[in-house]
Structures are given as structure tokens and as C-alpha cells.
Symmetry: C2
Subunit: 349 residues, 2 copies
């Protein structure tokens, strides 16, 4: 690509605070517990502190940013559900009756929906940012999913959502999505940016049978043949989707604001994979919430060198895995804040 076709550049990210991290490690080692006995929660507390540049990490106020968008590839048979389900599910989410709402209420987190590119108009709602870049992507099977300008707008839309959430007090940014057909786009991103063999990148998504999976496979083979590059911005714009580009922009903006990014499943990780390829310094700002049952997620995490916190066999999206990880993050932060030192206990023993 030529420089002037790209209207977007990756933000510079702040350095991790290694002094805070070292001090946190010392504090945690001195807590009233056997050395290392909290396993990954100790590493999490240190990571939170390094990101937030503090020895008192916080994870109470979490915003789940749920990006919605449609995919032109759905016309080419990549999804088991019709495109209109995206808007219908967004309606359910805004009504508070989707799984993410049940989980978010349970763990105490706010859900904000961002319309980055749903095919139909959505009604106004206080929890909805109506920042549609365009009504769905073009079909990546036949043409670029977005123009460079649209892709840059989608990235900026994600950044704007984070800036709002941070201005409203979010200490943690969690990513979620809704978009019929978006596992197809995520598979192409894994294929090109992992990289990974296309065959290993394709899974059943929301519920293909064997025939549906074969249709999806053929569509993705055609898309991959149509364009062969691996520049991360171009891969995003070629294959989409609008909500995935927005999530990549959101992850980068969260890191720029020193907010830990809680990454959900296959689609969210694909967005972060694009974000990391655009700006490698993004990776240590990310916390991978869970390993999805969608084929390809394990491979995607391996390519990122990431180990997810939870493994519950989920493959729903919406940010549901990210929501379940929030109590783990908060417990890690509470341990640093509230637990006595071993010296105190031994002094009383």
C-alpha cells in the first residue's frame, strides 16, 4: 500500500511501570500466604499495577464495550444465522435480556454498545453509541470489506468509545462483540496475521453443520485468494469487520490511557491480534479472559504467546468470557490492597 492510502497511524503507547511491578512483586511476596500460592492472580496483580503505574491496582469500575457490526460475507453463506440477527440481538442487549447483561449484572459491570456498522438502523438508546461507519462491510469474498478511510474510521470509533468510558471513570476496559458472520472475518485475520493455515483457522462459529461449514470454508478460500497481503491495516480493511477494527482501535486507546484490556474470545482476540500487529507494544496491556471453544482460538492465543485465565468451554462472544474474568482481576487487586503481611502473622504466632 502507498502511505497516503492510510489515514490512520497506530498510537504510541506508554511504557509499563517496571518499578511499580517490582514493588508489587515484593509486596505480594510478603503477604500472609505461602510464596507464590496465588499463582496467576499474583502475576495479574503485578500486570495491573505495571499498566496502571501504581502499587495499588484497581479493577472495580469496568466498562464492557460491545461493538456491533455486520458482514457482507454473510451473503456468501459464511454464517448459520441470517444477518438480521445482529440487529435483533443488539436490541436484546439494549433491553438487558442477553447473556452479557445477565453476566454483567452478576459481576457488576456496565455494558455499552457501539454500533460500528450494523446493516440496519438502530433506535436511539442511552447505552448505545450510534457511530455507524457504514451499514455492514462489503463482502470480503468479492472485494475489500472496507475502504482505507472506513477502516480508519472504525478504528477511531473504538478509540472514541474508550475515551468516553475512561472519562466516565472506567478503570478496566473489556471487549465484546455481536456480529453475524464475524467468526469468518476473525478466521481470515488469524490466517493472515497469526499467521496460520486457513484450514486450521476456520471453525463452526455460531453453529454450522457439516454442509454449512463447507460453504463457509469455500467462501473463505475465495476471500483469501482474492487478496494475498499481510500488512495488518490492509488485512483489517480487506477482511473486516467494522466492529473488529473498532475493537482493535479500542484496545490501542485503552492501552494509551493505561487501562488494562480484558479480551473476550475468538473475535475479540482477532481484533487484539490486529492491534498487536499494528502496535506490538499493545500486548502486555491485554488480559486474555478465557479460551473459547471456537476452533482456532487456541492457535490464535499461541501466536500471541497468551494464556487465557479461564477455560469454561464457552463460545458465545458478547464479552461474556471477559465479564467472568472481572471478579478474578478484582480479587487480585483486593489481595494487594487488603491482605496482611506474613510478618504480622508470624509475629502473632
Amino acid at each position: 500500500m502507498t502511505p497516503d492510502s492510510r489515514t490512520w497511524t497506530a498510537p504510541a503507547l506508554p511504557p509499563l511501570d517496571h518499578d511499580a511491578a517490582a514493588e508489587l512483586r515484593r509486596l505480594i511476596d510478603g503477604k500472609a500466604k505461602p510464596l507464590g500460592a496465588l499463582g496467576r492472580l499474583e502475576d495479574l496483580a503485578v500486570q495491573l499495577g505495571a499498566i496502571q503505574a501504581t502499587t495499588a491496582p484497581r479493577a472495580e469500575r469496568a466498562a464492557i464495550l460491545l461493538f456491533a457490526g455486520d458482514h457482507g460475507m454473510v451473503e456468501d453463506g459464511v454464517s448459520a444465522y441470517p444477518q438480521a440477527v445482529t440487529a435483533a440481538m443488539v436490541g436484546m442487549i439494549l433491553d438487558g435480556r442477553a447473556t452479557i447483561n445477565a453476566f454483567a449484572r452478576t459481576v457488576g459491570a456496565e455494558v455499552r454498545v457501539i454500533d460500528a456498522g450494523v446493516a440496519t438502523d438502530l433506535p436511539r438508546h442511552p447505552s448505545l453509541h450510534g457511530w455507524k461507519v457504514r451499514p455492514g462491510t462489503r463482502s470480503a469474498v468479492r472485494e475489500p470489506a472496507m475502504t482505507a478511510d472506513e477502516c480508519a474510521q472504525a478504528l477511531a470509533c473504538g478509540a472514541k468509545a474508550v475515551e468516553r468510558a475512561v472519562a466516565d471513570g472506567a478503570e478496566i476496559v473489556a471487549l465484546g462483540e455481536m456480529g453475524i458472520g464475524n467468526t469468518a472475518a476473525a478466521s481470515l485475520l488469524l490466517h493472515r496475521l497469526g499467521p496460520a493455515a486457513l484450514e486450521d483457522s476456520i471453525g463452526r462459529g455460531a453453529g454450522h453443520d457439516a454442509a454449512g461449514l463447507e460453504r463457509k470454508r469455500q467462501a473463505l478460500v475465495a476471500a483469501a485468494r482474492r487478496w494475498s497481503g499481510d500488512d495488518p491495516f490492509e488485512v483489517l480493511r480487506q477482511f473486516g469487520g467494522l466492529e473488529i477494527a473498532a475493537m482493535a482501535g479500542a484496545a490501542l486507546a485503552a492501552a494509551a490511557a493505561r487501562r488494562p484490556v480484558v479480551v473476550d474470545g475468538f473475535i475479540s482476540t482477532a481484533a487484539v491480534l490486529a492491534g498487536v500487529r499494528l502496535q506490538p507494544a499493545l500486548l502486555p496491556f491485554c488480559i486474555f479472559a478465557h479460551g473459547s471453544a471456537e476452533k482456532g482460538h487456541r492457535l490464535m492465543l499461541e501466536r500471541l504467546g497468551a494464556a487465557p485465565l479461564l477455560g469454561l468451554g464457552m463460545r458465545l462472544g458478547e464479552g461474556t468470557g471477559a465479564a467472568l474474568a472481572l471478579p478474578v482481576l478484582r480479587s487480585a487487586a483486593a489481595m494487594v490492597r487488603d491482605v496482611a503481611s506474613l510478618a504480622e502473622v508470624l509475629g502473632q504466632a
Copy 2:
């Protein structure tokens, strides 16, 4: 053993409600999500309903019952910490300054401490049940840890704690413990009740170095040689501990009251292993919260045919793993209660 040496018999347990389970499966399959997309949370919701005999399972009000006791084997070098740390840590827990308090506050659960057998007197405290059976077990290396009567009293102490918690509204019972030396007793239980080779059952506990681990190993070899049976009640009384027998009694009483039992790590699972060997119908009432990093826990779970929910590399005890699993249980219950049906979504699509 002769029948009259045992003053305790395992309670009969109610049947699981298979009708409720089948109806829940149907409800969950009809929710606005791909079939099976919530993985283990779907199974959890069904399990909760089968235990609670309802299609509206609940997991909001959880009592973490933390059983404390000391172990005579500590004189024989099985622990890296002195015995007095048990009482000092119980003091910290009652002060609300231990890890379990930080986690319980984070997830919204009550912590109740039961003194089943701490070696020293504990001050009165509103969150403490002072039901000490005796001040620590005898050393299982040299003699039976408890008399049959003491073991029965410890089992009854656990049952009483559950009855109180249930009377106070607990919908979920979670098990935790504190007892210097109790990984040694748990290893002997795994060895004899798993069963498993003693060598595979022994781990570093709260933090042995190589020399400490060898001392622990030698002590446990001597204990295992001293008594060779495998009757579950006798194994409990021979090897201890008081808090472990109390947890076994608590698990059985919770199941009898149709309360799901959230099992923590190595020690809690050892107690449940004893409970299951005493009354096999206990097993489906148990939810295994996490896989501990303590060597032997994986083997113990395998022997029970159990798959833990979380795997965070923790090995602290206190009920910390159980606490972290509570939001997962609650999310499963909230999904059943709050999520719209797929038919509604497709009707709007």
C-alpha cells in the same frame, strides 16, 4: 473395625431432581444463543437445578465455611510452618485481613470460621463457631489421629455449621480450611481412599524445600506403615484431621439439605473424597472450584472423575478457589433466569 466402634453413620441423601434437570436443559437450549455456546455454565446451571430441585436455580447467598484444626504430625516435621500459625491465621481471618476475606468481599460471600480443633484457645468472635473437638489431632505418624468418637464429633461439627448456615439463608455452601500440616493428612487420604501411590500423593504443601519435603515424605511413609486399612471412616480417624472430618460432614449435610457444595483445593477435595467414600451419592452435589497447584490434586480429582471449573495455579486454601468460582455459578443461574429465548430474537430478526 467392629460396628460398635463407629458412633456415626452417613446420612441418606435426597435424589437429584432429574425432571428439573431435563426441563432446564430444554430452557437453556432455547435461550438466545447458539446451542451449547455457554459450555460448562450450561452444565452448571443444570446441576444447580437438579440439586436444588428447581428450574430457577439460585447461587446468590453463599456461605464460605472455613474449618480450622491442628495436626499432631506437625511435631514430626510435615509442615514448613510452626503449628501456632494456624491460630494466628485464624485471627487474621476473623480480623478480615486474610486472602479469603479479600476474595469473599470481592464476590459478596460470608465467611464463617469453625474451630474444629485448633491447638490453642481462640477468642470469641461473632464469625467464629467455637466447636473444638480437641486441641489438635494426635500425631498420625505414631497413633490414630482421633478416637472414633472424636472423628464422629468432628463430622457432626461440620454438619452443624451447615445447618446454621442454611437456617440463615445460605443457598450455596463453600468449603475452606486453615490448618498447618493439613496437606500431609490430605495426602494420606488420597493415598488410602483414592487410592493412589503414596509417592504420588505428597507435595510441597505451603512451601517445603527439598529437605523439608523429604522429612514430610518419611513421616507419611511411617504413618502409612502404622495402619494399613481403607475403610473411609477409619482412614479419616487414623490420619485426620479434625477440620477435614468436619468438612466431610459439612459436605454431606449440605447435600442432605439440597445445597450445592463448592469444593476448594487439595484439602477440601480430600474431605469430599472421604465424604464420597462414606456416601457415594454425595458426588453429584459437589462443584469442584479449581485445580490446585499442590501436587496430588489432579490425581485426586481424577479419582473422583471431577473436572475443576478454574485453573489459576493457586494453592492457598482458605476457600479462596471456591470464592472465585461463585461468580461463575451465579452467572449460570442468572442466565437461566434473565436471558430471552432464541424464538424471541428470531421473531424480531
